[in-house]
């Protein structure tokens, strides 16, 4: 590999050089991390950015030598204060772990020991590295819990992890990591498993602690927004290699590597509405089949002959100061200057003025698709009309499993959706979004409420009675791995959908069936041969295409999409969003799009409904709700979303709403949001707010807006 240009780091940095990590698989060792070098400097946060499987976690785990059993460190050094962590004898390494270098993990739910109390788990570190025990340790643990923002820390010391919420567990994890005051902290996707408001709280906490203690932090993430909010420097990884490094502001001002640029261009965003997102073709190469030359070459829109045969060296980005932004791409080789100008034509200086414009430039020309216009004639019944839907689950207790209460998962939700339109249902986990979807499709029996499809009332239950409605509405689930039967071929899966609902046209012959399957696959951008293969042979994005094809098999009018892209990487998410937009335009489908990702809402949806604890608190067009949110919860949610725009503006500070979502089994009295609402008053604690119509298209449930109604049909 080429010499890696890392700027001269202070002597007290954690210096990683040429780190290579492999995993043993079937007698071979496949390289997952290949020659990665960086410096972790006290007082600075370095974000390691990349899509899943690119080797971010393996890099961090290797530094502490905590790789899983199959993992092998193949080479390199990690110097910390004169020691090489990768070569230290085990006993000395244990003195470093948790003491000078600590780590927090992605899954707070599984990373804490379920059978030890919070106090025991923190105390262990204090005893191991600081020799604290008894009262001193207890007082110290309490102080730590207070520092990480846990209320009533003395009582929490005796709690077990299962008694804490996800956000609190991650706070405890942070307290454990910080117990011995480490100089360096490795944080592996610390907020990925958390809801957006909790993510904002934890990010703010990490940022503050890092600054206060002058720690060097390695922040691993796949989310550009998180990088923008919390990092000082950025390293981008692709297929096991670091391919671009630089200061955050430079990086956001002009992402240099074609892959990084593609990541930016793949982000859904309001500025890209009605246009296709840039979706990289293909997938990240697998470990067993790394391309020779540049690893990005098979997917790179700017690749040329040299890329396929020769691995690129590190080059400074033109205009970057000494030790600044570096990129591993042939285009930045001064010898390729002509080609560079060709690849970035508009830029006299390298690259682009801002990621927004850059992204616009990357959008494939000529493929722009206008947002489908609402096809509703005035007065026509909407495609979907949901009135006061309720789904309550019983809580059973005691000797005879009596019902002692109800979890009001969905508690009076009303929605309308026109043909060819997209309604986004947003809210944090557990607020009842999926249950609404299942209640509408009658995959769950609703407790109350009516659902009408194209003016006809959908019956509560009964296979026979429901069959015609099942044909009109279909669901696409979050997890493309779990929702497809692994024992059936893709063709069989698609046919199953068609025949189970007894599609008109009788029983077509084998040839016609094959043609129908091929047409479906073609519709979602898969080759006809896919019909003969099994779901496990496909990648996550392809599986989601199959799931969509299965839903389309019955030619529905309405698709309920439950977080269809949240398990996918950004570049793959872009492919699926493009597909959904295209299908809507071609087939006039309506989507009820369940998501927690506002960028996706901005990009794809026409209307949006915000849910909190089983009820809709604000509903309106995307412009109304996202540009000018009125409900305090909507404002909290939007403020919590990490924004790329924040980068470059220097100071970032989020209004993180305090507290966490209460349980729907026991919602707060009055307005459900009242305990967390900055604007709550006595009225809010007394009763649930009525609906206020703020415009013909927007309603909100909040006392602050009571009486400010606009007559419903004022402007038509």
């Amino acid at each position: 590999m080429s010499a890696i240009p890392v700027q001269a780091a202070p002597a007290d940095a954690l210096r990683v050089r040429d780190l290579s990590v492999g995993f043993a698989a079937g007698g071979r060792v496949l390289t997952a991390v290949d020659g990665v070098s960086f410096d972790l400097v006290p007082g600075e946060t370095l974000a390691l950015l990349g899509e899943s499987g690119c080797g971010k976690s393996a890099t961090a785990l290797a530094l502490l030598r905590l790789l899983p059993d199959a993992g092998r460190i193949l080479g390199g050094r990690a110097e910390l204060g004169g020691d090489d962590l990768l070569a230290l004898p085990p006993a000395r390494l244990r003195d470093v772990r948790g003491n000078r270098l600590a780590m927090i993990f992605q899954e707070p739910a599984t990373s804490l020991n379920p059978v030890l109390t919070v106090g025991q788990q923190i105390g262990e570190v204090l005893a191991r590295h600081l020799g604290l025990a008894g009262e001193a340790a207890r007082a110290r643990s309490e102080a730590l819990l207070r520092q990480v923002g846990i209320a009533d820390p003395a009582a929490r010391l005796a709690a077990y992890p299962f008694q804490l919420s996800g956000g609190m567990k991650q706070r405890v994890m942070i307290a454990i990591a910080l117990a011995a005051e480490p100089r360096f902290l490795l944080a592996d996707e610390p907020t990925t498993a958390l809801d957006v408001t909790i993510q904002a709280q934890i990010l703010a906490l990490l940022r503050d602690l890092q600054a206060q203690r002058g720690m060097g932090m390695l922040l691993i993430t796949h989310d550009l927004g998180v990088v923008a909010e919390a990092a000082h420097r950025v390293g981008v990884m692709y297929a096991g290699q670091l391919i671009e490094t630089g200061r955050r502001d430079d990086f956001f001002r002009r992402p240099a590597h074609p892959y990084t640029q593609a990541l930016f261009a793949a982000l859904p965003d309001v500025a890209r509405r009605g246009r296709r997102l840039l979706a990289l073709p293909g997938q990240v190469p697998t470990l067993a089949r790394m391309p020779a030359g540049c690893r990005f070459a098979p997917r790179c829109p700017k690749a040329f002959a040299r890329c396929g045969s020769e691995a690129p060296a590190w080059w400074p980005v033109p205009g970057a100061e000494e030790g600044g932004q570096q990129v591993r791409c042939h285009l930045y080789d001064p010898a390729e200057a002509a080609r560079y100008r060709e690849a970035f034509p508009s830029a006299p200086e390298p690259a682009v003025a801002g990621c927004g414009t850059d992204a616009a430039a990357m959008v494939t020309a000529g493929q722009d698709a206008a947002t489908p216009a609402a096809s509703d004639a005035p007065g026509a019944a909407p495609l979907l009309d949901v009135q006061d839907l309720q789904v309550h689950f019983p809580i059973r207790r005691g000797l005879f499993k009596r019902t002692v209460g109800w979890v009001k998962a969905v508690d009076g939700v009303s929605l309308h959706l026109e043909r060819g339109r997209t309604l986004a249902l947003v809210g944090e986990s557990g607020c009842g979004k999926t249950t609404v979807g299942k209640g509408i499709l009658r995959l769950l029996r609703p407790t109350r409420g009516e659902v009408a499809l194209a003016g006809r009332l959908v019956p509560d239950h009964g296979r026979q009675a429901l069959a015609p409605f099942r044909r009109q509405m279909q669901m696409v689930f979050q997890d493309p791995f779990a929702s497809l039967n692994p024992r059936l071929t893709v063709g069989a899966i698609l046919l199953e959908g068609m025949t189970a609902l007894g599609l008109p046209g009788g029983k077509p012959g084998a040839a016609e069936r094959e043609a129908a399957v091929a047409a479906l696959l073609d519709q979602v951008g898969l080759p006809a041969e896919a019909a003969y293969r099994y779901p496990h042979e496909f990648s996550g994005g392809q599986r989601q295409r199959i799931a969509i094809a299965r839903a389309l098999a019955v030619q529905p009018d309405l698709l309920v999409c439950d977080e269809p892209t949240s398990a996918l990487d950004v570049s793959v998410q872009a492919q699926i969003l493009n597909l959904l937009a295209e299908l809507q335009e071609r087939l006039g489908l309506a989507y009820l799009f369940i998501t927690h990702n506002f960028a996706v809402v901005e990009y794809l949806a026409h209307e949006v409904a915000v849910m909190y604890l089983g009820r809709i608190v604000e509903r309106g067009t995307v412009d109304e709700v996202l540009r000018d949110p009125r409900h305090p919860y909507t404002r909290t949610l939007l403020a919590a979303v990490p924004r790329i725009a924040a980068a470059g503006e220097g100071a970032v500070g989020n209004v993180a709403s305090p507290g966490e979502t209460p349980s729907p089994a026991n919602p707060p009295a009055g307005c459900h949001f009242q305990p967390r609402c900055p604007e709550a008053d006595a009225a809010c604690r007394a009763r649930y707010p009525e609906e206020t119509r703020l415009s013909p298209t927007r309603v909100v449930h909040c006392h602050r807006w009571a009486g400010k109604d606009v007559p419903p049909m004022l402007d038509k």
Binding site: R94, V96, G98, N113, H129, M173, I176
Partner: protein, 325 residues
């Protein structure tokens, strides 16, 4: 907690009744009361009258389940099933077909049974868990590999082989201990050493492998990585973190058998001539002694249910997430 116990005990009654019905039905599908009488009286000189007399004396002249000739509730109560089985629910086991009192017999035989079964269980558990922890500790090394190979080899040898080989080696060839028999008090020791040792060894292969898998699975969990990231030594990680969590699945397998230790071991007791409940049961089966068989099956199911309840209760000790309310 109290409500939980009441509920479990209430569930136990129909289960016991069902088990009883099943034993009863199975026994009388294979045997008839006539067969039993012939067996007890000796096959040679049995007359029809002798058989009828034997049955009448012991109440086997009635119908099995339903007495159409009787009135009212007697239709159900005046039957073999009611007379023989229902009484057991109040702890009355009655007499064996040879006239001896079953309860007294059980009381004298329970001592030898537990003297054999309890040490086998405790020593076996200690050896197994230590060996499995050791293999998990050195997982992936050559010691681990050969350890697993040895376990598989030990598993594929029949239990009978251990008994016969052990008796031959230690009793016949080396003459260290008596080949079989039993004595009360301290002298029981020399009779018990060999069966206990063989009982332990015969079970090692499969259980070490099972526990090793369990420990390794536990070691792969995220919280263990967290423990290591704290700088804890491998010993602390193993004993404080892994073992404590592994106790949860271990308890499922272990606590449930504890009450059944009182029943003794059918195989070991028969081979080593130990006058415990295991050999009692085997003898009763051979003699077609229904009264004893149904009593032992009944006690077995009671102990099994007790084991299940104990298992649940023991969870509350090791798993803070489990609470009964």
């Amino acid at each position: 907690m109290f409500a939980y116990l009441v509920r479990r005990l209430a569930y136990a009654v129909p289960i016991l009744l069902g088990v009883n019905l099943l034993t009863f039905a199975l026994f009388f599908v294979v045997n008839t009361p006539d067969d039993m009488a012939r067996m007890q009286l000796g096959v040679k000189r049995v007359t029809a009258e002798a058989i009828a007399k034997w049955k009448a004396e012991r109440g086997y002249d009635k119908p099995l389940f339903f007495n159409g000739a009787a009135d009212g509730t007697a239709k159900l109560t005046d039957t073999i099933f009611y007379a023989k089985s229902a009484r057991m629910f109040v702890g009355d086991f009655g007499a064996a077909e040879d006239g001896r009192d079953i309860a007294r017999e059980i009381a004298t035989r329970i001592g030898p049974s537990t003297a054999l079964a309890v040490p086998t269980f405790i020593v076996g558990l200690l050896v197994t868990v230590s060996a499995a922890l050791l293999l998990a500790f050195v997982r992936g090394t050559r010691l681990d590999f050969w350890g697993v190979v040895a376990c598989v080899a030990a598993m594929s040898v029949s239990g009978l082989f251990y008994i016969i080989f052990g008796q031959w080696l230690f009793s016949k060839a080396l003459r260290l201990v008596p080949i079989s028999g039993y004595a009360d008090g301290l002298s029981a020791f020399k009779f018990l050493v060999l069966p206990v040792a063989i009982g332990v060894v015969a079970g090692l292969g499969s259980s070490i492998r099972w526990y090793r898998t369990l420990f390794i699975e536990e070691i792969g969990k995220d919280y263990v990585r967290t423990a290591r990231a704290k700088g804890l030594g491998e010993g602390t990680v193993l004993f404080r973190h892994v073992l404590k969590n592994a106790m949860i699945p271990i308890l499922t397998g272990v606590v449930v058998v504890i009450p059944q230790l009182f029943l003794g071991s059918l195989l070991m007791e028969s081979f080593f001539g130990i006058p415990g409940l295991g050999s009692y049961t085997i003898d009763a089966i051979n003699a077609q002694d229904f009264s004893v068989v149904r009593a032992m099956v009944f006690i077995g199911s009671v102990l099994y249910i007790a084991g299940l309840i104990l298992t649940d209760l023991s969870y509350t000790l090791v798993d803070p997430r489990v609470r009964f309310d």
